[in-house]
Structure formats: C-alpha cells, structure tokens
Symmetry: C2
Subunit: 660 residues, 2 copies
C-alpha cells in the first residue's frame, strides 16, 4: 500500500454499476474492497480529499450496494464526505481525478451529480431526519423501497440526530440506521453516548451476567428442584435475555431495534447483518465497528491528520518533502493566528476558556488544548449546546471563546440570539471559514455577516490581516462586555510569515489593544479634474488587501479612498459623518459575504436613516458582495473570481463606478 | 377552588423570601402549596398567563427553595414560563397584577427582574446546557454552590437538551437535573423517549423481574446449595440490581445518575429526593411525576386549553360569558386562517402533509390534525428535525407544510439553508408570530424576514389580510416548486369575520390563485403643487392596513401611493422599474421586522444595484422597521407604538418625510 506501484484492479474494472455486486461471491467482494482501497489512496495522493473516513467505509458501502438497490432504495449518507466508494460504484470512478475541483466531482453527495445520491449532505446529523421524512413519504405514496440512513458515531451526538431517533422510535417507520462507529467524529468523539457505545464494545455488554446465569443453571441441574421453580428460572433467563442481554439497550428503550456490534470490515458479516434486517418493518439500527483509515497504515495511525488531506506522496520518505514543496508551502492560516492569539491572551486571562464543536483540528485549536487542557472544551458535534454552554459560562464569570465555522454557526442562531445576545454576555466567537471555501454549497460561509448583524448587542468584526486578527482577539477577550464575532476566511493569513512568528514584520506574540469598531483610512485617495472628493471604498476584512491590489491595477485620474471598515456592527458612524460632511458622495462596499443584509446593506441602511440628517445629497452606495445564489465547489481563487471578488474583477467594477 | 371567595393565605403571607421555607414543617409546606395554588388561579383569572404549568410545579418549587439557596445556588428554569411560584417566593408576589403587562412582571424568568433568576429563558431545552456551562465556571472559579436545571419532559425532546445531557455524562460535572414529567410539552408529547418514560411509570421497570428473583431465592433457600453457588446467586442479584433494576437505565447508561420516579406533588418526597442527591458530586437526574394544572379542576381536565390563558372567570358558569364578552371577543386570527386554508387545500392535494414542532394548539393546527390525522405530524419540540424531515418528504414527493413560530424557526436556520434551500425543495413554511408579541424579548418574531431573505431560492411572503393569506397558502401549495415562507403576526386576521366564515365579505373557503410575487397598488396617490410624482409607500404584510389608516390621518396636498409589497423576496422588479421610469423618487418601506437586513434593506440593495441602471437620480429610500434592540413584553399595541409601527407613529413619520 505504501508504494506508488499500481496494482491490478481486475475486480474493480469489471464494475460498471452496483448491479454487478449482486453476483459476486463474498470472497471476491473482500478482494474488491482491497482494490478500492488502493485506488482511493492513489487518487487522493494526487487530488487530496477525505481519506480516513472513506477508507473506513469500504466494506459497508459494498454491503449496502450488495443488499439494497439504488436509486430505488434511498441511501442517505450523513455528512456526505465518506461517499467516495459509493461514487466509485455508481458510475463516477473515472472522474476522481477532478475531485473537489471546479466543475469536477463534488467531495460530498449531491443529487445534482447522480440519481444514486438521495440527498445533498455536507453538514452532520441530518440523515435520520431525512430518512424519517422519506419513509413517511414512501408509505403515504404506497411505495415499498427501503430508506437507509448511514451515520457515524460522531454525527449521532448532534442534537437533530437524537431528535430524529426519538421521533422514529415513536412513529415506528421502516427505516434502517447504519451506525458506522469509529469512535470519532472529525476530532475524537465526546459524550455519554460515545462512552456508552465504547462500553458496548468492550464488554459486549452483560455477557458476563449471561455466563453466570448459565453457570448457575448448570449447577442447579444437579440438585432437585420443583417444576415450578425450574419454570421460573427459565422465565428469568428469557426475560434477562430479552431485556438485559442487549448491547443496544439505549436504542431499544427508545424504540429502535438494535443489532450489533459487528465488525464493519468483514464484508460477509456486514452483508449478513443487513440481510437479516432488510425485510423488517420496524426501525432498525445496525451497529458496525470500523477503523478510520483502514488499510492505509499512515491513516490508521493518525486518522485525524488524514481526515482531509491535500495531495500527498505515497512514499513515506517523500512526505516530508511534499509538505515543504513550493507547490504546497507551509503557510500560516487565519486559524493558526486565531489559535496563537488565544494561547497568548490565555496567559494573562486565567478565566479564558475555549470551546469547539468537533472542529479542534480544522480550527487549529488542538494547539490550545495542548497548552491549556483544563480550559479547552471540544464538546463534539453539537453547536447548539456549545453556544448556550458558553453563555452559561459567561454569565457565571468565565471568558468563553467559541471557535466555530461560519456554516456550523447556522446551527446555533437561536442560541446566539436567545442565550447570548439578550443578556449581552461577553462571549467571543471566532467565526472560521467566513467566506468561500472549496467544499461547495454546504460549506460556503456567506451568511454570517447578515445573520449576526441583525442580532442586537452584537459586535461583528473582520480583520484585514494576521496582526489585526491577533489584536481583535486580544482586545475582545480583555475588554468586551458583550458578544463579539470575529470572522475570517479559510486562507493564508495576510502578513504572517510562513513559520507564524512574525505578522507584518513584527513579532507575532505581541498583541496590542485596538479600537476594533473604529475604522481606519488605509489610503486617502485623491481628487480628480471632474470630482472634488474621491469615491470611498469601505472594505471589510481580508477584502481590504484585495481592494488595495485592485486599486493598484486601475489607471484613472481619480484615486479612491480606501477604508479598512473592520467593524460591520457597530459602524464607525463618526467616520461616516465626517466623510459625508466632507462631501464624499460615492461609497463602494466590498465584503466576502452575501449581498442580502450584509455589510453593504448596513451602509445603505445607515445612509438612508441617520445619514439622511447629515447630507442634503443622497450619496450613492454601491455594494460589492456575493450574489444571491449557492456557490459550487472549487478552488477558492476561482470561486472568488466567479463572484466578482478577485482583484481583477474588483478593479473592473471599481473603475466602472468611478468613471461613470 | 372554583369560587371567587378569597381563602386565607396565612402561610403565604408570612413568606418574605425563600429563607422562611427552611424552618417550616413539611405539613405546613403542603398547606402553603394549597395557598399558592389558590393565589395563582385568582391572579391569572384577572391577568391571564401560563396556568397549567405553574400549578404543576408548586411542590417542586417549594422543595427547591427549601433544599437549595438562591441566589447563591443557581436554578435554571427551562422555558421559564413555569416560574410563577418561584417568583412569588422570591419577592415578586405583589407584582402579579402586572403580569405580562408593559413594564410589569415578565411571564418568564429574567435576571433583569431578580437576582434569583439565574438566566433568561423563553425557548425550551436550554437549561441543561446553561447548567453545564455554569458548573464548569463554578469549578474553574473554585466556588461551591449547586447548579440545578429544571426541565420538563417536553423540553427533553429538544436536540440541544440531549446534546447537553450527552456532554454532561461525559464530563461528569456536579449538576442536578430536575425532570418535571407531566407527559406533555405544550401539546401532548411525542417521541421514543416519552414512551420510554411512560413505561418507567407504568411498570416501575423491572420490578417484576426483581420479585421473581426474590421468589427464586426464597425457594432455593430450602434446598442444599454449595457456598460457591450461593455466592454466585448473590453476585447475580447484586449486578441485576445495579444494572437492570434501574428505571432510568437510559440516563444511567449515558452517565447521569437517576432517581425516581417520585410523586412530584408530595412535598415531603420531593424534599427527601433532593436532599438525597444534594451533596453528590456526579451528575444526577431526579425524575418527578406531576400533573399539569394540578389543583384546579378545569385545568387538570384540559391542561392544553389552560396552558396559556387570557383573563377568565373562576365561576364555571360565567366562563362562557367571558369568552363572548366585548373585551374578549371571539375573533379569527391569522393562525385560524392559515389552518383553515390548509384544510381546504388538503382536500385537493392528497400529498399535502402538515408538520408542527409542538405548537399544534398555538398555531391552530389541532383542527388540521382532526381533519387529516394521517397527514399531521406534531414531532414535539425539535425544530431542526421538523424542518429536515420536511425536506426529506418534499424530495420524496410529498407537499410538506411546516407551521412554526418565527423565533422557533431560528432553531432551524441551518436546516432551512442546508436541507431545504440548496435543493430548492417545495416546502411551505407558515411562519406564525412573525412580528411583535406580548411575551417579550425571547419571543419577538423580528428576525425572520432578514434571515430568510438572505437564503438563495427562497420566496418570502406576507399577506395584507385574511383573504390574501388563504390565497398565498393555496397558491404556494398548488404551484410552488421551491421553498416559500408565508409570515404573519399573532393577531386578529384583517378582514375575517368573527366566526371565520367570511374574509372581506366573501366566503372564507373559496381560495383563488394569485401571483404572490406581484405587488399591488392599493392606492395610486396624487401629485401636489411641489412634487410631480408622489412618494411611494411599500408596505409588507399586515402593515398595508396600518399604513392605510395612517394615510387617512395625514392632511397634506400630496397623497402618497400605497403598494401592497407582499413579497420581500423576490421583489416585484417590474413594478419597481415602472415606478422609477415614471419618475417616483421617494420610497418609504414599512415592515414589522428588524431594520437590519429586512425588507427595507432589500429595496435599498436593489436600488443601489439594478435600480442604478434605470434612473439617473438616486431615489431616496426611507425604511421604517423595528430598531436594533430587543423588545420587552407588553400588549402588542403598546409594543407596535413603541417601535414606531402604530398608525399614529406611522402618520407622523410619513408626514415628516413627504413634507421635508
């Protein structure tokens, strides 16, 4: 597996669709699993992608397509990033060289790509709810296919999965839940349920009790008992078996029939387990134990590192070189800067705690957890709990910082409003992946500015570079007395050195207080023959840098003013007042977020209310933002350009506006 | 209890704070409970309020304040509408005549009102997360008070409560969960967990097994056994007791120590149960069985009807009269109209299904459930599951309609984006309580327009009256091929007759197709000496009627045009184009939603982008909406006025703008 040598893939080559799996022997299926694994490793070494999770579900996927019939039967892949094998088996094998590339194969499931993908997925914990809905629809429409939700133990900690199981247990619809249990979500898994499932596996639950009962029975046989007592013992044994000798008693008690645990890498056992429940009409859960990264030793050893990988070399000795190659330079990301800032301010703030919902690796917080294990809370996939827990902490005197991806924060909007904002509690949100990402529609962090801006008491910030992010974190933790969101994209941090020790030429670990809600004039601009006052560009976050680059490309006699509008809420009303009084009458806003309700809308709203009192002329405000549509997957640079936010597109737009 | 006669309240009169409870005998506490109950019924007969839930927690509240010490110990009341007794015991007894009135006593808990209220609440299922956060804070700060979450069995179905229990089971913090189990949330409770808890109560779980084991043991005693076998039997019994003879095995397996079930109306038993776990350091759940409406027969008989009540007469024979009195006329609400429209269109659409997360009564959907029980899904308190289940249904061919309150939809914003909007599935959302409500900060439905408008593929509608709501529902169900939200306030439906049979003089049950995204000119307006083209008022939803009334109050020579802008998304671009080309240059938007990102922002955004291409003049757009602050509780009319949305305030604003 470690070599670059291409192995024969005779079984895989023969597969044109899932139908072929029906005729294969179980032994051949197991061989096919080996070929698939090899192909995944080879493919991902070139393109990058979700490695560990896909290596973990090879046999499960084969068994699903062996026992069930897509697209008639509906398989709902939770999260959807573990469906590569499913894609290979459903006609998409030869598109893997375009994985996660613009117009190429999606890294997630989506019906836009194949009728075998029953639904779109990208976020966790949705599959059981979808399955319940589809099962109700099936029965209502008098159809008779199967509905199968494939969910990981990590996804099971998400509140909505528990809501769905609770409902399913009540309505008793024919749904099969395939629980792929590898004891981790993206990070290591957390929670009473995880510990419980661990105990199931360790003890095979109550086996000891059963053995003892058998042993007693064996002994009793030798003595004389009345028939009545004997019946009673048998009855106890029966009831004990029914009620106690069930590894999945929690699921059983909630009304879901449980089978397992079963070795999820034994095709034969998995097929048997699925065949056994295939024709049952009550809800079933089949509990499969798998190993993330199975079959590729480096990924088995460190499945977290290999959760999502960039292209890599298969030769271990080459891997170090790949890491440092010019095409994949080690760079300092905003996530790195955020984490380092937290670590630094935590030294001064003993009551600072950091919370993440299962994104410790992606957000870089693992490093914080190592530095301050007692002050680090990875609560598993449960954004709602994460935010409200932080609210409780803040009310009780801690300084909680929640690190969360922009789209995952969507899961906790009510908690942001109801539990954090009403009491105006000092919770700091590090909103990571705020902006466009390569993953596609489900992960585009474009709504957070609009959402958070509409919530009273919130401060909504975005830094223009690494140093400003550090200073915003420092200032927010030290000084804020209400909720603060600091959003930043998934990208290299502007101004940070590759080793992360310097930001804009000064030592990284020297935070300073700033006034984050005061905007700064980056370039004053200059008047031209035709306009007395230049246009004002109000750029939010990392767009300050892109706007600067765009301005460098424009040749006109008017040079617009460039403002680092680092706070979308509150606005720097004082600066806006001054600009209006000075006679500026054209404003261009630039943000990496949705147009609707975003930073540009904030300027428009202000200009049309308070701004009206200052200036007799109604100034022109021209918002540049992400249009009202879902953004597909592909390289970030392509997506930015597609949405008018590359320096080239910005230059065109700005030039058109100022020369109009 | 049924009479108006005031009974003596000698025990209650002696209570100035929770400290006094410590010295009372349990018998006197039980008498005090009776007095409290009487006072609640008397108070609520005058003011209205949450009756059943508060009658259910009298003894629990007394026991909590007997055993624990607020405000040092932190009691977190889930939802918070069942804290009247708590309020009476913590210095707020004599404010109950102002309950839920403007500047009066809040109907929920809030630290703004008392230090004994540990947190704000209004939505369900938050208390365990808050308790976990506060317990972590307590331990970090080396304090030693208790943290107690009081949660109902209804709240326990909410995903975030399950997330929190899962996390608590893992981190094993010292938190006491008091489970107030009355087998209902607002509506009757749903879910595997509810059924499970019901079985706990029915069987006291495994008691039969234990009895049989005892019986076997008794018999065995008479025969000769070796010491080894005897030890083994004892060991089995011990393990059986530990592991199986536990009513709360699900909680135990998740790592929460369980005691119960206990009669929640027996003060003595409740006090004993709390004393028993008070000094434990591991997480505990005490399971108390209560009766909603306890002690007031009409409420015991129909606790749903008495969940939240308007002022009522204590004399049963007078109640009918009260219902029909002029001060409380029977009126047809938007919720009624919505439900009737669903029932009517369901006749023609066999695949229409209705879903509600535990708000069947409040939203009027009970009537739908009676008409079409097989097509009605009250999924309990789980908004996330409700929305994603609907997405699954729509994908599989049904026509799901989700009836949900505006602020509860905040719980499912990610599901709206990720599961409904990306695939542009035809799910219809009836967004009830869209606008200001008397309940206060936690329930103000002011964010939905801004939130939903930013989601691609959504249509966001609001009807101007009953007939338009009916027609929107009809058209959306019959014709829409993408997600549609129809939002309406908690109010009498404009144009509906008191008995609900007529809307604007025509039969209620005669829906017709409309083009909901086409706006309508309600009044053309007229030019004046100074302006060639009158100002245009774009009013959204029920604000059309208020704006009309406002215009009737204004005397100027210019009469503004009034437009029923019934679609906030998409905008009626065709009409906007025409208005601009016609030379209209002043636009006033009016909406009952937050200014930030709302309908007004939509007009501003459009005018500054596409609108720029049409007109050389930059038109003035003046948005009238709810300012950026949380709105307190009080009568809807007062809150509307306070936020500038009464006809009087609108008239002032409009006049100022058009005469400027």
């Amino acid at each position: 597996m470690h070599t670059l040598t291409k192995q024969p893939t005779s079984f895989l080559d023969a597969i044109t669709g899932p139908a072929e799996l029906k005729h294969m022997s179980v032994e051949d299926l197991q061989k096919l699993a080996g070929e698939i694994r090899q192909e995944i490793v080879n493919n991902l070494s070139r393109t990058g992608g979700h490695l560990s999770s896909n290596l973990g579900v090879v046999e499960i996927t084969l068994a699903l397509h062996r026992v069930f019939n897509t697209p008639t039967d509906q398989i709902l892949w939770d999260v959807g990033h573990q469906a590569y094998v499913h894609k290979m088996l459903t006609g998409r094998r030869h598109k893997f060289d375009t994985l996660r590339q613009f117009k190429g194969l999606s890294g997630y499931v989506t019906p836009f790509e194949s009728e075998h993908d029953a639904f779109v997925a990208g976020h966790s914990s949705t599959s059981v709810s979808l399955a319940v809905g589809m099962a109700i629809a099936r029965d209502h429409l008098k159809q008779d296919h199967k509905v199968i939700a494939v969910i990981g133990d990590g996804g099971l900690t998400g509140g909505m999965a528990l809501e769905a199981i609770n409902h399913l247990g009540h309505i008793q619809k024919n749904v099969l839940i395939v629980l792929n249990d590898n004891e981790m979500s993206i990070s290591e898994n957390t929670g009473g349920l995880a510990l419980y499932m661990k105990r199931i596996k360790e003890t095979f639950f109550y086996r000891d009790i059963k053995e003892k009962l058998d042993s007693i029975e064996g002994s009793l046989d030798k003595v004389q008992l009345t028939a009545g007592i004997w019946d009673m013992i048998l009855e106890v044994k029966k009831q004990a078996k029914e009620r106690f000798d069930t590894p999945g008693i929690v699921f059983e008690k909630l009304g879901i029939n449980y089978s397992g645990p079963i070795d999820g890498h034994d095709v034969s056992a998995v097929v048997r387990a699925m065949e056994a429940v295939k024709d049952k009409s009550a809800p079933q859960i089949v509990h499969l134990i798998t190993c993330k990264g199975k079959g590729y030793q480096p990924a088995e050893d460190d499945s977290i590192k290999y959760h999502g990988v960039p292209a890599f070399s298969l030769e271990p000795q080459l891997r170090e070189k790949v890491d440092a190659s010019p095409s994949n330079p080690k760079s300092t990301t905003y996530s790195d800067v955020f984490t380092q800032a937290l670590i630094d301010v935590a030294k001064e703030e003993p009551n600072l705690v950091a919370i993440t919902p299962a994104t410790a690796e992606g957000s870089g917080l693992v490093k914080f957890g190592k530095a301050y294990p007692e002050r680090f809370f990875d609560v598993a996939i449960c954004e709602q709990h994460a935010v409200t827990m932080a609210a409780g902490m803040a009310k009780a005197g801690l300084k909680p910082v929640v690190s969360i991806y922009s789209t995952f924060l969507q899961r906790a909007m009510d908690q942001v409003i109801h539990d954090v904002a009403i009491l105006s509690l000092p919770v700091v949100f590090g909103v990571d992946r705020g902006g466009l990402v390569e993953d596609g529609e489900t992960h585009q962090g474009v709504f957070d500015i609009a959402f958070l801006r509409s919530v009273p008491n919130f401060t909504v910030l975005a830094p223009k570079d690494a140093a400003e992010l550090r200073d915003m974190v420092y200032t927010a933790v030290k000084e804020s007395n209400g909720p603060v969101a600091i959003r930043f994209p998934r990208d290299k941090a502007i101004g940070a050195s590759a080793d992360g020790t310097e930001y804009s030429g000064t030592p990284a670990s020297q935070p300073r207080f700033i006034e984050p809600t005061e905007w700064q004039i980056v370039a004053p601009g200059a008047r031209s023959k035709t306009v007395k006052k230049p246009a004002v560009i109000l750029a939010f976050g990392a767009m300050v840098d892109t706007a600067q680059q765009a301005l460098d490309m424009i040749e006109t006699d008017q040079i617009p003013m460039l403002v680092n509008a680092r706070s979308a809420k509150p606005l720097d009303v004082s600066m806006l007042n001054d600009l209006l009084r000075d006679g500026h009458d054209t404003f261009i806003t630039i943000e990496e977020g949705c147009l609707s309700g975003g930073f540009g809308a904030a300027i428009l709203e202000w200009m049309s209310t308070e701004g009206q009192e200052i200036s007799d002329v109604t100034p022109r405000v021209l918002p540049i933002a992400i249009p009202d549509q879902f953004v597909e997957h592909g390289a970030r640079a392509i997506l930015l350009d597609l949405n008018g936010l590359s320096k080239e597109k910005l230059a065109q737009r700005i030039k058109k506006i100022i020369t109009k």
